[in-house]
Symmetry: C2
């Protein structure tokens, strides 16, 4: 098994595209040249170019829209990505994911409590208000609203790298948890715990925010542990 592989033309094209995006000062959402123009500019055929483009697409650097064009993707500047190929977690991996969240999210709640201000707090309130409207609705929508609360809290902490980490963990966590949260009691308890965390953040009480987030995630973990031992019908 060779550790050093020869760079392919397709590898080089990937680099050329990244360079083009960078030197062109392109931001997420900007349109890039068409595949025809790019294949001519780089003097390669379109299937070869498309290989490079698929690679960039898979990692969020570009978006390819059929009939429209190629656009710079939102993840171009990220450091950390959720694995898009994750379909099923190994036994125990979900619990490790929750433990990871228990390590990372409480300090973030504390950071949010220390630094969040007017507009930020109003936005977080809106997120929770939106979540409340889903308490009697579809699982998927409630779940999404709850994840939005966690994402918004991580964002308020003011560290983009940690926000990316939390976002990544929540993204891969998505489908697994959606199947599990199916009892009304958990919905309301979740919501109340989110409210308590928000109150601590609004009050600027870093210690309470951290403790409440940790307790909330420990609750979630406990529920999931039970579910893993007694799957619902």
């Amino acid at each position: 098994m060779s550790e050093v592989t020869r760079p392919t033309l397709s590898d080089a094209l990937t680099e050329r595209m990244l360079e083009l995006i960078r030197t062109g000062g392109h931001r997420p959402g900007d349109r890039l040249p068409s595949t025809r123009e790019l294949s001519q500019r780089f003097a390669v055929t379109t299937p070869t170019l498309r290989e490079a483009l698929r690679r960039l697409e898979a990692t969020g650097a570009i978006e390819m829209r059929h009939g429209s064009g190629i656009y710079v993707g939102p993840a171009i500047e990220r450091l950390v990505l959720p694995n898009p190929n994750m379909r099923e977690m190994r036994g125990g991996q979900l619990l490790e994911l929750l433990d990871a969240r228990i390590v990372i999210e409480p300090p973030l709640a504390a950071m949010a409590a220390r630094r969040a201000r007017g507009d930020d707090l109003a936005a977080l309130e809106r997120v929770l208000g939106e979540a409340a409207t889903h308490l009697r609705g579809e699982d998927a929508e409630l779940h999404e609203a709850n994840m939005t609360f966690h994402r918004a809290t991580a964002r308020l902490a003011g560290n983009s790298v940690l926000h990316e980490v939390v976002d990544s963990l929540l993204t891969v966590h998505g489908a697994e948890q959606r199947e599990i949260l199916q009892i009304f009691d958990d919905r309301r308890r979740d919501h109340e715990e989110h409210r308590a965390i928000l109150q601590a953040i609004v009050a600027g009480d870093a210690t309470a925010a951290e403790d409440r987030m940790r307790a909330h995630l420990a609750d979630v973990k406990s529920v999931i542990e039970q579910r893993l031992h007694q799957p619902p019908k």
Copy 2:
């Protein structure tokens, strides 16, 4: 900008490949069918199949070796990935990365101190011994050895998800830091701080391990802050 895009054949092929890997019980390193066989089996042409394969390759699910075949990649089971497209960090991003490490790595050192045993500790000792041989050597090798120490410590914490997070952060951190650590004094201080962390882990002293890791990373951050304000010649 449409939020719902039509799935392409190439998208479907990506899913088919993931399914083939999963239902085949393939582990990282296992060889998969050739592109010729796969394109026949899925009734598509090789350029189309190769688009899907490049996507999977970019996210670590497979490795394509010219002349040899396609192999299941090491990242197939990961939840979190380093962004392979990261070439240059925005201003401030490196400091945020360090702050992220300051949040995550100290609790991991504490976890390692609580749970590491004989073989684990011996391996960590070997990592530091190896790093010591590079103190007078090339920057790249010393840097790699130092990163290995951090990775090994995160592994000893016993949470694979957090290990992936740390690995991802260290991976994207790599090239940036390599250019900065160029003074002998920092090399020795780094090494001594790593030794102190190891001793706390060996002693099973979770509090000391955590405090020393936090102090070490704060030192690293301080050095980097100075370098960012006064770039070396």
